[in-house]
């Protein structure tokens, strides 16, 4: 195997040459890191560094001892909202905008203060330009919407050409959502993004339900998901997020396989496959027949998936699905997410993500928390639940 170009963009990556196994290009060996690095300034939690479960314990103890309660209501106290996703990707706050709902970050213009977002996941990007699916592509459903855009995009080169120079100037990290039809597609797109100034990370879209080839086929099989993740991992040292699909029987083995293959974080969930019928016509409404369901309607499912995934992986989980208000953010944090992405709700209220940042900050002040981290994982069981002895219980 020919040695491939290796670009080191962060101090975290270690040279792998000293490993004695045959090929020069072995997967990058990663130190398993805490989902979030406790802020050095937070005295109450100093010294207690650990994984997610530890984080939950921190939360309870911080509230119990409450050494910072005198800070309650004080406006000069700075709440630490930053999220460290590893490999040098530190989000200023845990409110991101989801892929496909915010274009390339430039579309909303001055209506949205882009620099106050925690991160931007841009529209799904493929190697070659794609024209997408036939119309109609979107329709509203009760409490949600169906979309079947079909990954329309101008191709990775055009995306870099048109938008990277704008992204460089932003404080907000831009995470490029990458889609493809084959492992080599993914690898090639990522290779072209590697080292481009303005690209802060990669979100692998292995779960798009709206394209014929590629997309979903990688998300429904643990081996395929791990394969594409590992291949991309070898191609770049950019922070790597992988987006999970809910269109599977059990997401846990897939999540575990992706984490083991070297992903830095997981995002959950992509849309659920669905269909709408044109009123009065009795035929499928969407041009592509199938569409992806998003919006508040899918929140309980997304909560369940995040809850399950957060218990089986030690990498951060970013939640997506029907976030429309602060309560939704808190719910996702409770089931173990370190950050959330706002998607469909942006269409109704473009200013929502920025407002959520303010509201989360306010909520932390109200609870006298120096950081939002004690809110993470409070709904997770202390230890993995014992197998049920009742045969009738639903265990997805």
């Amino acid at each position: 195997m020919k040695a491939k170009r290796r670009v080191v963009t962060s101090g975290d990556a270690r040279p792998t040459g000293n490993l004695s196994t045959g090929p020069k290009r072995t997967p990058t060996i990663r130190r398993i890191k805490s989902a979030i690095v406790p802020a050095s300034a937070s005295a109450s939690q100093g010294g207690r560094r650990g994984g997610r479960d530890q984080g939950a314990a921190d939360g309870t103890s911080a509230r119990a001892t409450s050494p910072v309660s005198e800070a309650a209501g004080r406006s000069d106290v700075v709440v630490d909202l930053s999220v460290d996703l590893g490999r040098g990707l530190v989000l200023p706050n845990p409110i991101l905008v989801a892929s496909g709902t915010f274009g390339y970050g430039v579309e909303y213009g001055e209506v949205v203060e882009v620099d106050r977002l925690g991160g931007i996941c841009c529209k799904g990007t493929t190697l070659k330009p794609r024209i997408g699916n036939v119309t109609p592509r979107v329709t509203e459903t009760p409490g949600g919407m169906l979309n079947s855009i079909g990954l329309q995009n101008p191709g990775v080169d055009a995306v870099i050409d048109r938008y990277a120079s704008t992204w460089v100037g932003w404080r907000t990290p831009v995470i490029v959502n990458v889609a493809g039809e084959s492992v080599s597609d993914y690898v090639e797109v990522v290779r072209r993004l590697d080292g481009v100034p303005g690209v802060a990370g990669i979100e692998l879209n292995i779960s798009c339900p709206n394209v014929g080839r590629g997309g979903l086929q990688f998300a429904i099989d643990a081996d395929a998901a791990a394969g594409v993740t590992a291949a991309v991992r070898r191609a770049t040292d950019l922070p790597l997020l992988v987006k999970l699909s809910p269109n599977v029987a059990d997401v846990r083995p897939i999540a575990r396989a992706i984490a083991d293959a070297g992903a830095d974080a997981l995002t959950a969930i992509n849309t659920l496959s669905g269909i709408a019928v044109a009123p009065g016509h009795g035929r499928p409404l969407l041009g592509n027949v199938y569409g992806g369901l998003s919006g508040p309607a899918i929140k309980p499912i997304a909560l369940r998936v995040v809850y399950e995934v957060a218990q089986v992986v030690s990498i951060p989980v970013i939640a997506i699905g029907g976030v429309t208000e602060l309560a939704d953010v808190l719910d996702y944090l409770a089931v173990g997410a370190v950050a959330v992405q706002v998607g469909t709700a942006i269409f109704a209220d473009p200013t929502l993500p920025v407002r959520l940042v303010d509201e989360l900050d306010e909520e932390c002040r109200r609870r006298a928390l120096p950081s939002y981290r004690p809110l993470i994982g409070t709904a997770l069981p202390r230890k993995p639940a014992a197998p049920s002895s009742k045969g009738v219980e639903y265990r997805p």
């Binding site: 496909g100 709902t101 915010f102 274009g103 579309e107 909303y108 213009g109 001055e110 209506v111 529209k123 330009p129 024209i131 997408g132 036939v134 119309t135 109609p136 592509r137 979107v138 329709t139 509203e140 009760p142 409490g143 949600g144 919407m145 979309n147 855009i149 329309q152 009123p279 041009g287 919006g295 508040p296 429309t324 469909t344 709700a345 942006i346 269409f347 109704a348 209220d349 473009p350 200013t351």
Partner: protein, 286 residues
Amino acid sequence: MRLVGAELAESREILPDQWLQTFHAPGLVAGARAGQFVHVRTGDYSGLILRRPFSINTADPGTGMLTIHFRAIGRGTEWFTRLRPGDRVDMLGPLGRPFEVDPRSRHLLLVAGGLGMAGIRLLVDEAIRDGRRVTLLFGAARAAEVYPSTLLPDEVEYVVATDDGSLGHRGFVTELVPDYEAWADQSFACGPQPMLAALARLAEGRRGRLGVARLGRKRGGGKVVPAGSAAARRKAFLQVSMEQNMGCAVGACLGCVVMATSGTPQRVCREGPVFASDEIAWEAGW
């Protein structure tokens, strides 16, 4: 593009199930031009999660008043009909690219089908303000659905066609176009897609039928005008306002595209809703 709170001033049902609502939104009206639209949020946040796009039916920068004209056809539009004067809605706009009228055009032929009137109504005002002659052809299913002429300026020549012949010409509105195509310098249309496609076919054969001489240099000859630019649209005989299911209305979600002859789908909310008729791939079936 601005996000403003708009206060409902007046709401009335001008035709069966068709409503005309007047909003006070001075910050938004200031820059609005014919062909552009607003994206309005319904207040029923529990189930209706998308905004609704409406053509800017009329806009008066003097008073800051803007009207929208729509048919109550689903849960969203029905929610709007229940608004009372004084109620506020969240309005994003003006969005999209407007109709491009060549400064030299004296005679404008406007064609509207049904609710397409909402997309073209403001152009009537703008053209008359600029001293142009306007003929407006309007098609509807029957007399009861014909847009009232009292809501139009006196200066406009208003010609009606109905499918059942209950008012004006019996048949499609497109059948009236040949009587006017020699007179018109430019044409603008909004309505159902089959109507627009028929008009586009008519516009394509117009030069041949009229025997327009191809002598010497054409206006602006030699200059390369990129397709889809404002200049290219200004030169086109027919501009159409397209409709499509819409998500974000700012170009982010790529939900509302139409297939273009260039092979790249164009966003109705961003590159449109107004297109030159030869930009659209009518036969593509999108």
